[in-house]
């Protein structure tokens, strides 16, 4: 498992190198990840102006307070704290394990789920409430059926 972890670290390093080469021709892995032609990628929320609930993905009605047409786009923070997690040892065929599936509360609101990387996947190394930052990089080399590359986001210890 430790070797696997080292290998993952190295892959992440490579991906970051690749990312710093530019965002050109990279599609976002999810619709709440914005990849501008120039400048840094970021996560986007849709915030209800009435009750301040933050949603991922575009919508017109707030499911918390039922207000209609009161949503505005907000740029979500790249800083957050770990709310909960699991270490995944069994996944679907072809998915590298183990990895840490993490739920992160972002500063200024919004909760997102993703992989916590650059931490050995062992409960002793993962603390509830630990500070993490959102980092962006290639979506683990995954391509769609047309061969397009994707950008995704990850968490790493701050």
């Amino acid at each position: 498992m430790y070797l696997n972890y080292k290998k993952n670290l190295f892959q992440c390093y490579l991906k970051h190198k690749y990312f710093y080469g530019g965002n050109k021709n990279m599609l976002p892995a999810v619709d709440y990840l914005i990849v501008p032609d120039k400048g840094d990628p970021y996560l986007e929320g849709h915030k209800c102006n009435v009750c301040e609930a933050i949603f991922l993905g575009e919508r017109t009605v707030c499911s918390k307070c039922f207000a209609r047409d009161k949503m505005s786009k907000v740029k979500l923070s790249n800083n957050g704290t770990l709310y909960s997690y699991s270490i995944v040892y069994r996944s679907f065929p072809g998915i590298d394990v183990p990895y840490i599936s993490a739920l992160v509360d972002l500063e200024d609101g919004g909760t997102v789920k993703g992989n916590l990387i650059n931490v050995e996947p062992d409960p002793d190394n993962v603390d509830f409430g630990m500070k993490v930052k959102v980092v962006y990089g290639d979506a683990l080399g995954r391509k769609d059926k047309d061969g397009n590359s994707y950008m995704s986001y990850f968490f790493e210890p701050a």
């Binding site: 599609l27 892995a29 999810v30 609930a53 949603f55 991922l56 499911s63 918390k64 709310y83 909960s84 997690y85 699991s86 270490i87 995944v88 040892y89 069994r90 996944s91 679907f92 998915i95 590298d96 394990v97 990895y99 599936s101 993490a102 739920l103 509360d105 909760t111 997102v112 789920k113 993703g114 992989n115 409960p123 509830f128 409430g129 979506a139 683990l140 995954r142 391509k143 769609d144 994707y150 995704s152 986001y153």
Partner: protein, 379 residues
């Protein structure tokens, strides 16, 4: 409104039946429940059928094609892991509404082996293992770890739940497995999604269960000796919670349904003698001790440590062996739970009988989210 009684109820022994069809498996439990009620399909005025895997394939009608086509109305229900309980509740409502006096509810499922949960798909690239995991063992592990974060709940405490339910199943001949799993075995089993090991995940099995529900008038006419009164039938969907989008809710939804059920019954948790709750994973059972009000928030770990939830304890939970060992055929589970509680209230639960049980509760929750709770009473 009429009170509603369960007059007949039964389940088949859960197992794997690759050579059989879904309607054929469902028909077996339907006939068993009819026999238990001392009635025939000719006496049924309507049928509610729960199944997930073939939700678009008229399973209820196909069951009647096996056991008797009387032309009665049939409604097919799908509501994730609350499917069977939803079918039961629809039957209950039809009698409450005084539409019918005698109604059949059936739950049935034929499962594949392996992981349940979001493999991704759709446009773009698969998200599993890229944006965390959508597998059920992981989703429920994350919900359990939220409890660990708040209250310091340990891996060992979660594992003890699995030890307990597997022990209970050794007393239940209808459970898929009847094997003891000591704590070391549970904790050292293959880790699936920390803290859930393989022995802390429910077993995918095939199965069916069915119930005959009747109005009070009909129960009096047919004899009340073995009739079980439905004191409450509650169904809730997930209310908005702050982490909804990334963390499917199992807590708020259960609390909402529990409050409704206790209010309908005019009872509190202290009045309940046994509970069959939705232990799809060991981590899930821990949460529901608190969600159902069996203890105060933060006391769930103590409940398992002190043995309060074991057979013979203060409030025995999942004496059937639970989904962890009896097995979890999704569409059948909600009615199988009702069968278990009815068996105790009738004093017919054999070696695992909860002594003097008068009132019991069943709980199921399907992600997405649907929670169904029933409170049943010996009449």
């Amino acid at each position: 409104m009429s009170d509603v009684y369960v007059l007949g109820v039964d389940m088949i022994k859960f197992g794997r039946f690759p050579g059989r069809t879904v309607p054929n498996i469902g028909a077996e439990a339907a006939l068993m429940a009819l026999d238990d009620a001392g009635l025939t399909i000719k006496d049924m005025q309507a049928m509610y059928c729960g199944n997930l895997g073939q939700a678009n394939a008229m399973v209820g009608q196909r069951i009647l094609q096996e056991i008797g086509q009387t032309g009665i109305p049939v409604v097919n229900c799908a509501n994730a892991c609350a499917t069977g309980a939803t079918a039961f509740r629809e039957a209950w409502m039809s009698i409450k509404a005084e539409m019918y006096d005698v109604v059949l509810a059936v739950g049935v499922e034929q499962m594949g082996k392996g992981l349940l949960g979001g493999a991704g798909g759709g446009d773009g690239i698969p998200k599993e293992g890229l944006l965390g995991s959508g597998t059920m063992p992981c989703v429920f592990a994350e919900a359990g770890m939220e409890h660990s974060s708040k209250y310091g709940t340990t891996f060992e405490q979660f594992a003890k739940i699995s030890v307990k339910n597997h022990h209970h199943s050794t007393l239940n001949p209808k459970a898929m497995y009847q094997i003891e799993t000591p704590l070391d075995d549970v904790m050292n089993a293959e880790m699936i999604s920390y803290p859930n090991t393989k022995l802390m995940c429910s077993v995918n099995v095939d199965g069916s269960a069915a119930a005959v529900l009747v109005s009070e008038k009909k129960a009096k006419e047919l004899g009340m000796q073995r009739a079980i009164k439905v004191r409450a039938s509650a169904l809730a969907s997930d209310p908005y919670t702050d982490r909804d989008l990334v963390m499917p809710d199992v807590n708020a939804c259960t609390r909402l349904a529990a409050a409704d059920a206790y209010e309908q019954a005019g009872l509190g948790a202290e009045d309940i003698n046994l509970v069959e709750l939705h232990d799809c994973f060991a981590t899930a059972e821990m949460l529901h001790y608190e969600n159902l009000g069996l203890c105060k928030d933060g006391e769930a770990g103590m409940m398992i440590d002190e043995g309060h939830v074991e057979l013979g304890g203060k409030i025995p939970v999942n004496v059937s062996g639970g989904l962890l060992s009896k097995g979890h055929p999704l569409g059948a589970t909600g009615i199988a739970n009702i069968y278990e509680v009815c068996s105790h209230l009738r004093g017919e639960a054999g070696k695992r009988q909860v002594d003097g049980a008068r009132i019991g509760m069943t709980h199921v929750i399907g992600l997405g989210t649907a929670c169904a709770i029933h409170i049943l009473e010996k009449s």
